[in-house]
């Protein structure tokens, strides 16, 4: 992969940590400081303050609760702001900023191909992803909420806190936390082809953003990964480069699955003939 592109992606990932995760959590702390002056927020700034999971279930199952929580902490709107941005710009947050998705993906590059589970050609992640989203939303009514107990952001926050000296964050592990960490980081992370298995199958925030992207991509004025058919020589490099398995071969051509594409632009960089670009216009030219 192009080193400059990779460097930009790693820098974006570090920016994501700085913005959302303690001990930095700059976005969270700046908002908290604004609100604290109004007596609203009195809690430590970490990734939980800008939760991307619970607000999705509240929005569907208990809109009044969502409104009440947002009035206390507007950062609960983050996931919906990201969804709207995805409509116009594609899910750039997932592809560039989200540390929970990017860290396993980048570490995955160091794992030998033979050790990785390869389902790229065998499985379309979209049905599983949206089945999970439906289950995630309905789970509080049908079994038990999985917003917090199976939260990979939470696990990453704990690990980052420990790395920066707060070992207390790793003091308690529940069974669900152990399962989440093992699946997110190892099985569906560094040991799956592309390193984005958790994102593909089990991230409700990513699924929501891609729903909006799927609709937005139909419109000519929105940004998206676009395919220029005449320039393609069917070499397949973009297919192999895509960490989310969004690009597939389709009879002397390729297709970009908007339900999983996170606009990381690895495919754009991998293509030697400029057949893919992140720009405004039609999906296929």
């Amino acid at each position: 992969m192009n080193n400059r592109h990779l460097m930009y992606r790693v820098l974006a990932l570090l920016l994501g940590i700085l913005l959302f995760y303690a001990p930095f959590a700059l976005l969270v702390k700046a908002t908290a400081q604004l609100l604290e002056s109004q007596g609203l927020i009195h809690v430590v700034g970490d990734v939980h303050r800008a939760c991307l999971r619970m607000p999705i279930t509240w929005a569907v199952l208990d809109p009044e609760k969502l409104v009440a929580r947002v009035l206390m902490n507007p950062l609960y709107l983050t996931v919906f702001i990201l969804a709207v941005l995805s409509f116009f710009l594609a899910p750039l947050f997932c592809g560039w900023l989200c540390p929970a998705g990017n860290i396993p993906e980048h570490l995955n590059r160091f794992v030998p191909r033979g050790l990785k589970l390869n389902l790229r050609e065998k499985l379309d992640p979209a049905p599983i992803r949206y089945g999970f989203l439906a289950g995630f939303i309905l789970s509080p009514k049908l079994g038990g909420s999985i917003a917090c107990s199976f939260c990979n952001y939470s696990q990453l926050q704990n690990v980052l806190s420990a790395i920066f000296g707060d070992f207390h964050a790793l003091a308690y592990w529940s069974s669900t936390a152990i399962i989440t960490f093992a699946l997110w980081f190892f099985v569906l992370g560094v040991f799956i082809d592309g390193g984005r298995g958790w994102c593909n199958f089990a991230c409700p925030a990513g699924a929501l953003q891609n729903l909006f992207h799927r609709v937005g991509a139909k419109l000519p004025f929105t940004f998206k990964i676009r395919f220029f058919k005449a320039r393609c020589n069917d070499c397949g490099r973009c297919v192999d480069a895509c960490p989310t398995w969004a690009i597939r071969r389709a009879s002397n051509s390729i297709s970009v699955n908007r339900f999983v594409c996170n606009a990381c632009k690895d495919c754009v960089v991998a293509c030697p003939r400029g057949a893919l670009s992140y720009s405004r216009g039609g999906e296929v030219e």
Binding site: H42, V44, D46, G143, S145, Y172, W173, S174, S175
Partner: protein, 156 residues
């Protein structure tokens, strides 16, 4: 759904959450919080059996005035280490006091991580105590919630 049911099955075994209102209202809040230690999930039993968590996202002031609140965990057996865990900026861990006044209707969260030594893990009743909410300015008890950690198989 399966993940939700699995999580639900462990609700009273690894990490129990409760709500606690203060000042205590007559006839209300008399329930006991119980954690069934021997019903932990297999992964927990294998990897970190001696550490359980009890906590509340909602220790709420239902009174008509503000309180500066101190918390006390009573009757912790010798050998059991308890880590206090909160996201409150104004929490003073040395005095176990929330330094800012909690206004009527306001709430805060607190968790207690119990590190249970091996010799106590098989007892029918591992912990029988509770959390006391105290007005830090007057010393008056505002509420008390009994908490137990038991082995259901032996305690019946």
């Amino acid at each position: 759904m399966a993940a939700g049911y699995y999580r639900g099955s462990l609700r009273k075994a690894e990490s129990v959450h409760f709500g606690l209102n203060f000042p205590a209202q007559e006839g209300k809040g008399k329930k006991v919080v119980v954690l069934y230690y021997d019903e932990q999930g297999i992964l927990k039993k294998l990897l970190q059996p001696g550490v359980v968590k009890i906590g509340s996202h909602r220790i709420k002031n239902v009174g008509s005035r503000s309180y500066v609140v101190r918390l006390e965990l009573v009757n912790v057996p010798e050998g059991v280490e308890v880590t206090w865990e909160t996201n409150q900026l104004a929490w003073d861990d040395a005095t176990k006091t929330l330094r800012r006044p909690l206004r009527p209707g306001e709430r805060f969260g607190m968790g207690w991580i119990f590190h249970i030594p091996e010799e106590l893990r098989g007892k029918p009743v591992i912990y029988d105590g509770g959390v006391r909410v105290i007005d830090a300015e007057t010393g008056e008890q505002l509420a008390f919630l009994p908490i137990k950690i038991v082995n259901r198989g032996e305690a019946g």
